[in-house]
Symmetry: C2
Subunit: 333 residues, 2 copies
């Protein structure tokens, strides 16, 4: 249980001042080659690692970013959340920032004093936390929620457009009876995908009968119920737009179990581009959203704000993209 070596130990061994050691650590150019190599030797000798707390305190700045995610059940098993975590984690590693991870119930205020910036993975029931963070002065950015009423940067996918392109594709194939299984409508993504769907149908004068909109929550479970409901309708849909790939997959499973053929009997389009959908009986046609990239962009955004060098666009909207595979075709006559 040895004491950790400090900058003083290194300085003593290298026979220089702690200032010089500090310079070497921070790659300052103003150190003679001789001193530099002596310091490096001493650093190696002691396996010296600077104390991050001391650095942060002295610099008055913090190179760690907080990722706050809503803690509602199931979110951590969604492709969405995982991709964000991966993207944020990866970008942090590249930029040598620490990722501190907060799960929030929406009530406990997260301690923003402790991080240099914070990413809100979504804003569902935690607006107050965003406001508190903003008020405290830490740089913030919101992912996947166009918070236009808040003075905060965001990086979001255009989910209305996502709903539209999925629907457009189905309509272009000739479908007139299109149902949807929505995501959790408390999430902006869920609400906007539905909006895109309804909006496009209206524009094309395609009716949306009662029972064609099943209010889901992104879970496989509800997709199962939804699919069963749709099948019981007197006029079952010939195509289904599911607001997540997980739900689309479960829908397909139900349909297959009932002996239906995909896409011959019924077409499905999902949302996410979850790689799990490449395998299985029928490769899923879906709407791809650049989750990983969004997450990375959020980290870079904060990095610029924290370090103060560079400029950023405050509000970024990314376009989703249709990925055509095998789960859709024209309806049978």
């Amino acid at each position: 249980m040895k004491n950790k070596p400090s900058i003083h130990d290194v300085a003593r061994r290298a026979k220089v001042s702690i200032t010089t050691v500090s310079r070497v650590i921070n790659n300052a150019t103003t150190v003679s080659a001789q001193n530099r190599s002596r310091v490096e030797e001493a650093v190696a000798f002691y396996k010296f690692k600077p104390n991050v707390s001391a650095q942060r305190l002295a610099r008055g700045m913090n190179n760690s970013i907080g990722l706050v995610m809503p803690g509602y059940p199931g979110i951590f098993h969604s492709f969405y959340a995982i991709e964000l975590i991966r993207g944020v984690g990866h970008a942090c590693e590249v930029l040598h920032m620490d990722l501190v991870f907060h799960i929030t119930n929406g009530f406990n205020p997260i301690n923003t004093g402790n991080v240099g910036g914070v990413i809100f993975a979504d804003v569902i029931e935690n607006r107050r936390q965003v406001e508190a963070a903003l008020a405290s002065g830490v740089p913030c950015v919101i992912i996947n929620n166009k918070a236009d009423d808040l003075d905060v940067g965001y990086i979001a996918v255009d989910n209305v457009q996502g709903g539209e392109i999925a629907t457009d594709y189905l309509v272009s194939l000739g479908h007139k009876k299109i149902a949807t299984i929505t995501g959790n409508l408390n999430t902006q993504a869920g609400a906007q995908r539905l909006k895109g769907f309804e909006q496009f149908l209206e524009k094309k004068n395609i009716p949306l009968p009662q029972g064609y909109v099943y209010q889901g929550d992104y879970s496989r479970r509800c997709a199962r119920f939804a699919a069963e409901q749709f099948l019981k309708l007197k006029e079952p849909p010939t195509a289904i737009f599911a607001a997540s790939d997980d739900m689309a997959l479960e829908t397909m499973a139900v349909l297959l179990e009932k002996g239906l053929k995909i896409p011959e009997d019924i077409s499905i389009v999902g949302f996410d581009d979850n790689p799990a959908c490449l395998f299985g009986p029928v490769a899923l046609t879906t709407v791809k959203q650049p989750l990983f990239e969004m997450a990375e962009a959020a980290v870079r955004y904060l990095h610029v704000l924290i370090t103060g060098n560079g400029a950023v666009r405050k509000k970024t909207t990314l376009a989703p993209e249709l990925v055509v595979r095998e789960s859709c075709s024209s309806p049978k006559k």
Copy 2:
């Protein structure tokens, strides 16, 4: 962009010393009611939050824990990893510790100087990181890997036993032709579940024909291949033990597609107790391992080591448990 209030501002407004403020912040009992309420008023007035870096520096101690996870592709989409993250996150929140999240490729040394303790979510290709962390003197704990050759605490499930109880159940049902789809055999869990499987079969003198062990990697993709292989055998198995629920699910899907009935034609047991397996056409019989609890236990373990109060058991092995549902029955005569 106001400057953050410091303890001095609070002290000045409350007309006390900074020490008293510090005492209030840290819930010391030795503060008069009067002073306490004045400090509280001032804290509220300034919305004062202590600077965590300064606290850590002054205390010489760090209440944050690092979670190190291997970064190989796909891990973040596994039930296993997600449950660990959830468990660690939850426990950290309860204990007021920060969770700093490290994704590692096994090469970059993680900076342990920066956390009070570290949890290794598994030890696959990162033994050197564990050794480095240990050498640096930070408290460490390993989850789900019985690293008996390292002087470090661990909390692990008995995966050999897990493989045994799954096999035992199948054997007790009367099966003689049992195949397995293994996990990634580079993981201890994968190797040990296979060991339990083989060991039990040997004990019961049940032959294990060539082709009955498919070396998988926990992914759905390989489960699909495995299932197809098994079906092509001249003597297909009447039961399959899959080393993860994901693989079991995909196996069931393949079997169902081929027109087989579960469990009448073939029995399946999985591993994990992933809630996704409750739904679907046939509820999966599986081996439950307490992932969330393991993760929580790891955090508590470190918390004790870091704060120095309390005692801990250094090596903990948890027993897995069979969860019987509907995917197994006796083989047809």
